[in-house]
């Protein structure tokens, strides 16, 4: 956890800016507000953007979902999969704002991330556009039910 004073003093280090977002699957305007930490978000009643680190409990944000426009989930290393659960927890609770995957976001993970509810991607290193297009369209169908509205194979079988 980062303490609040550090966060406020060095706000540029927190959150990605709109021009860092490489892929976005939303029609609403992109929020241009700095994100705060989960701790700060719980303390500040006016924060509209928050950044979740792998060790944070996404459920702490549930009381504030209405006021949030942007939740960034940081993947410091693509191997740390806690952000996938954080995303699903928020979507399952009804969060409808932008859910942005940031950090070590690679082409081979964006398909999974999309399924967990991410609708914006700000990778540290830009992803080849063609590779990304292929990756987002990789799976003809899916086995699991998530909040992404895709109908799982086992429901298709028994329609």
């Amino acid at each position: 956890m980062t303490d609040q004073s550090q966060n406020q003093g060095d706000i540029q280090d927190w959150g990605t800016s709109p021009d860092q977002v490489q892929f976005r699957f939303r029609d609403d305007g992109i929020a241009d507000v700095p994100a705060v930490t989960v701790d700060s978000c719980c303390d500040q009643t006016n924060a509209t953007a928050v950044r979740i680190e792998p060790g944070d409990d996404a459920r702490e944000l549930l009381p504030f979902l209405d006021r949030l426009q942007l939740v960034e989930v940081n993947f410091p290393a693509y191997t740390d999969g806690r952000g996938y659960s954080a995303a699903r927890v928020l979507r399952e609770a009804g969060y409808a704002g932008e859910l942005r995957a940031v950090g070590d976001v690679l082409v081979d993970q964006i398909g999974f991330m999309r399924r967990c509810g991410f609708d914006a991607f700000a990778p540290d290193k830009p992803i080849n556009e063609d590779d990304a297009k292929t990756a987002f369209a990789r799976w003809p169908e899916v086995y699991q039910k998530t909040t992404d509205a895709r109908i799982p194979i086992w429901d298709l079988r028994h329609e």
Binding site: P54, D57, Y78, T79, D80, G81, R82, Y84, S85, A86, R88, E92, L106, D108, Q109, G111, F112, M113, R115, C116, N128, D131, T134, R138, W139, P140, E141, V142, Y143, Q144, K145, T146, T147, P152, I153, W154, D155, L156, R157, H158
Partner: protein, 543 residues
């Protein structure tokens, strides 16, 4: 057995294309080895000491003859004419080229097979009872539940980057032939007092550095909540499992550190939440899966065999298991020929086993976690003909569950993690006991060898276990006694200081001498050990 529909086939085909892209990007240098590593691992491709190793998934160990023929063809086309059956009921090839891997995966997909999630920090291939659908003592065939979980766990978007690998076993009898409580999740299908089927969940077992027997966390999960409950178990683990130290990252450490009660409380809370999310497949899906595993058309026939040929009689006694239909048995093909490599089969042997399955076992084979092959449904009337053909091919070793039926990991001969060789030790041990004519006298004695602390050879769970360690640059072997992976699961204890290769072979012989000396009527080695304890064995070894 289960057959893919067009959905399953499309998923596997998509995976082949994805891997083809990934391998291409790696070969062109567009991604680093570091970035490629988790991708190849999720396709079962490891970089070993000499070459790439590919692990192919055999879901719950079940194969048909067409698939076994393909495994043989792959051994010829992409490897050196061999395959190695593993303790996870899978097969591994040790000499694979990256350039050819996508073609190999396409060949597999053509027979409804894949290498999906056979490694990496994700949910691995689901294992099960190798006598499923055949054993006289089972409640119901566990494989429809295993297949449901196979589909649910395939490309799971949330659980593909877990803290560590995750293994699930499903059984449905009180006799545990799948080491169920030594899995991250062990599931036993049971019936409650109302006569309804459900699942008992054991979570947090495992071998490796820190062996643990999974505690039961829920005695009855209704079948229409099986996936939801599994999802809850995994989510708590994904969120809170340790990621600071890979040796403490398995779920067993989380369950141990939180305590069973607290882990269970968190799972139950997550479960209540997930019940509202509709993640469970419709019960109709389970109904769709069941007929694939329906009994073949058994017919009545002789219930006994002519045992006048002592060699045949020995094979029948050792290598067959009681079947739910009294005119049939399950026959085990031992892949532990004298001084052979445990679990290895040549392409010719694989082709033959496939042909025999077609002729004698309703086109079905199983891979056992003990690295042998089962023909699950053999007519007693056909046993002699089957045995004759196996004998002629060098596959008739009558040694199942004896000291010659050794489980061994690939060890230092192949594996980059190993500290010591396992295979040559297994070969010398089986030779030693066979030459002395001791095997039969010793009866059931499960000997398991791991070449390092990661315990792929299940040494903790051997009646006698051997662990290879590195002692100042030389191979050294520790001896363990008293482990079991069956329903009476227990962990072996180390006898004391280790031995060199010759020394550990002598040591195994000494402990078997003590057993023969002290055993009482009908006792197996394990029973005698449990009754008399470690001391008499220690005395013989070190005084």
């Amino acid at each position: 057995m289960y057959l893919y529909d067009s959905y399953d086939q499309a998923m596997v085909d998509a995976r082949v294309e994805e891997f083809r892209d990934q391998a291409q990007r790696r070969l062109e240098g567009r991604i680093t080895e570091e970035q490629f590593r988790p991708l190849r691992l999720m396709n079962g491709l490891y970089l070993q000491l000499h070459a790439y190793m590919l692990r192919v998934a055999i879901p719950y160990g079940t194969l048909n003859s067409r698939q076994m023929h393909m495994l043989a063809d792959i051994a010829d086309k992409y490897d050196r004419g061999y395959g190695h059956f593993t303790t996870r009921q899978n097969i591994q090839y040790n000499w694979i080229k990256l350039e050819e891997t996508a073609d190999l995966l396409a060949d597999l997909a053509s027979v409804e097979m894949h290498a999906i999630q056979t490694s990496g920090n994700c949910i691995r291939n689901i294992s099960s009872d190798h006598f499923a659908g055949a054993a006289a003592d089972e409640l119901i065939d566990p494989r429809p539940y295993a297949e449901l979980l196979r589909q649910w766990s395939s490309f799971h978007p949330e659980f593909s980057f877990l803290p560590r690998k995750f293994k699930i076993a499903v059984i449905a009898s009180d006799t545990d032939r799948a080491a169920m409580k030594l899995h991250d999740i062990g599931i036993q299908i049971v019936k409650n007092d109302a006569g309804e089927l459900g699942a008992t969940f054991y979570v947090g077992g495992g071998m490796g550095r820190t062996p643990m027997i999974a505690p039961m966390i829920r005695d009855f999960v209704p079948l229409d909540q099986l996936v939801t409950y599994s999802e809850a178990c995994l989510r708590v683990y994904n969120r809170y499992g340790r990621r600071d130290n890979k040796y403490k990252a398995r779920i067993k450490i989380l369950v141990h550190e939180l305590g069973k009660e607290e882990y269970t409380r968190q799972v139950e809370e997550e479960f209540q939440h997930l019940l509202d999310q509709g993640v469970e497949p419709p019960l109709a899906e389970l109904e769709r899966l069941r007929p694939y595993f329906a009994d073949p058309e058994f017919t009545d026939g002789p219930k006994n065999v002519d045992r006048s040929d002592p060699e045949f009689a020995l094979w029948v006694a050792r290598n067959t298991n009681r079947h739910k239909h009294d005119s049939y048995v399950s026959a085990v093909i031992s892949l532990k020929p004298l001084a052979g490599i445990p679990g290895d089969a040549s392409s010719e042997q694989m082709h033959l086993m496939a042909d025999l399955a077609k002729e004698y076992s309703f086109d079905e084979l199983r891979v056992m976690h003990t690295q042998n092959i089962v023909l699950p449904h053999v007519k007693i009337a056909d046993l002699h003909a089957l045995w004759t053909k196996l004998e002629a091919a060098g596959l008739g070793a009558p040694n199942v569950d004896t000291i010659e039926d050794i489980i061994a990991c690939p060890g230092l001969d192949y594996c980059s993690l190993a500290n010591a060789r396992s295979i040559p030790l297994a070969q010398r041990l089986s030779q030693r006991f066979a030459e002395k004519g001791r095997t039969e006298e010793l009866g059931e004695l499960k000997l398991k060898i791991s070449g390092c602390i990661n315990a792929c050879g299940h040494h903790h769970a051997g009646h006698i276990g051997i662990l290879g360690v590195d002692k100042k640059g030389t191979e050294n072997y520790q001896l363990l006694l008293g482990g079991s992976e069956a329903q009476d699961t227990s962990m072996g204890k180390i006898t004391g200081r280790g031995f060199d290769e010759d020394g550990v072979i002598d040591a195994v012989e000494k402990v078997t001498d003590i057993y023969l000396d002290k055993r009482e009527d009908g006792e197996r080695f394990l029973d005698t050990y449990r009754r008399i304890g470690m001391d008499p064995f220690k005395e013989a070894l070190y005084d």
